[in-house]
Symmetry: C2
Subunit: 220 residues, 2 copies
């Protein structure tokens, strides 16, 4: 596992979080614009020049690989595909861990999340549910990696706002956690349960030992 | 369903495909750079200015909603989250329909697809498998929307090249198709089966009627 210890202070991380979030948010708009533009090839080429200039600036100094999991005074998984602060493909899903053990995420799914015309891609629902179910296991102090995930699609979810919720079930061993979740489409005042999920999350032995050794108590 | 008929000629679509693909590919690099940059907040702000200029150019004329499914002389689902030509969050997965009925996709999963540190996000595996399993149903002339998908995670897949394959099983009714698939991590010469999938795809009655009426024989 690429856990990386770092020395950054809480203030240094906070100072980096602002521009990181603003940049990722701008790139998210760009992803949307690329899909929806009706401009011609010439305009796209002009846009591409700007994109490459941005990339060049950022690549002047960069990590050799993925972001990984950075811990020290804060814990950062900024590259995560669903919640990563720096990841423009993440909707992002805004996740809250409630006191009652439930975990709830909100996102507005736009053009980039399309499968069937006008609807959320079935795999995108799976992506969000995997994350929220995994967090629910972690919120119950029983973190793990996905071992099994079953998704039942009840209704097609229209592109737009969704709520994703999950909770760990009390049964089972401490390192094998069952979680149930659902993805709810929010259309006006209506709440439509579109996808139901059932997950099994297991913390591999090697990771358990590693976390004990590193005195890490936090979630993956 | 947002099926949209369009009059574009094959040549017009081809002329638009080149710059679209080049632009999406550049934005993919940008997404990666945003995650991995080690530049400071000021450089990120400079990059953001370029990004916003690109977005502004593209938004001068744009579709009111998502890309949808456009048909006429060609069939285009350029916004699709996994294979969309215009979608920069798509890896993209390059999918081939083989003569023997199997469907195979290849992608290189970089920093944007991270879940556990250094590994493919479990939900990303689900996303890709949903797409390829759905295409396998379509390749068997029994297209449908995902009704159920079960994913079994055997090993964690390292970030890097993967192959995703699926095939429809002959059993069942024509509008309810069972599909099996797997995601294989390619590490050097080794092929590691990391995730196994079992899916059920159903073509809703309303869509069947619509497709008959529109004389559409193609996949979702």
């Amino acid at each position: 596992m690429d856990f990386i210890e770092e020395k950054m202070t809480v203030e240094e991380v906070a100072a980096l979080a602002g521009p990181s979030e603003a940049l990722a948010s701008s790139v998210r708009e760009l992803i949307d614009a690329v899909i929806r533009t009706q401009m011609d090839g010439e305009a796209m080429e002009d846009a591409r020049v700007h994109v490459e200039q941005a990339t060049k600036l950022l690549r002047e100094r960069e990590l050799p690989g993925s972001f990984g999991m950075r811990y020290g005074n804060t814990l950062r998984a900024w590259g995560n595909s669903v919640i990563g602060l720096r990841n423009a493909m993440a909707p992002p899903l805004e996740v809250t861990w409630n006191d009652d053990g439930t975990v709830v995420g909100h996102a507005k799914l736009g053009a980039a999340f399309e499968g069937p015309a006008g609807y959320v891609h079935g795999g995108v629902s799976a992506l969000l549910l995997d994350q929220v179910c995994g967090e629910a296991a972690a919120a119950a102090n029983r973190p793990g990696m996905t071992a099994q995930l079953t998704l039942r699609y009840r209704k097609a979810a229209k592109l737009g706002p969704v709520r994703v919720e999950a909770e760990a079930l009390p049964e089972g061993e401490s390192h094998k956690t069952k979680v149930v979740g659902r993805l709810i489409s929010l259309v006006g005042d209506a709440e439509i349960v579109c996808v139901e999920a059932e997950g099994l999350f297991i913390l591999p032995k090697a990771v358990r030992e590693y976390m004990e050794e590193m005195n890490l108590e936090t979630h993956l």
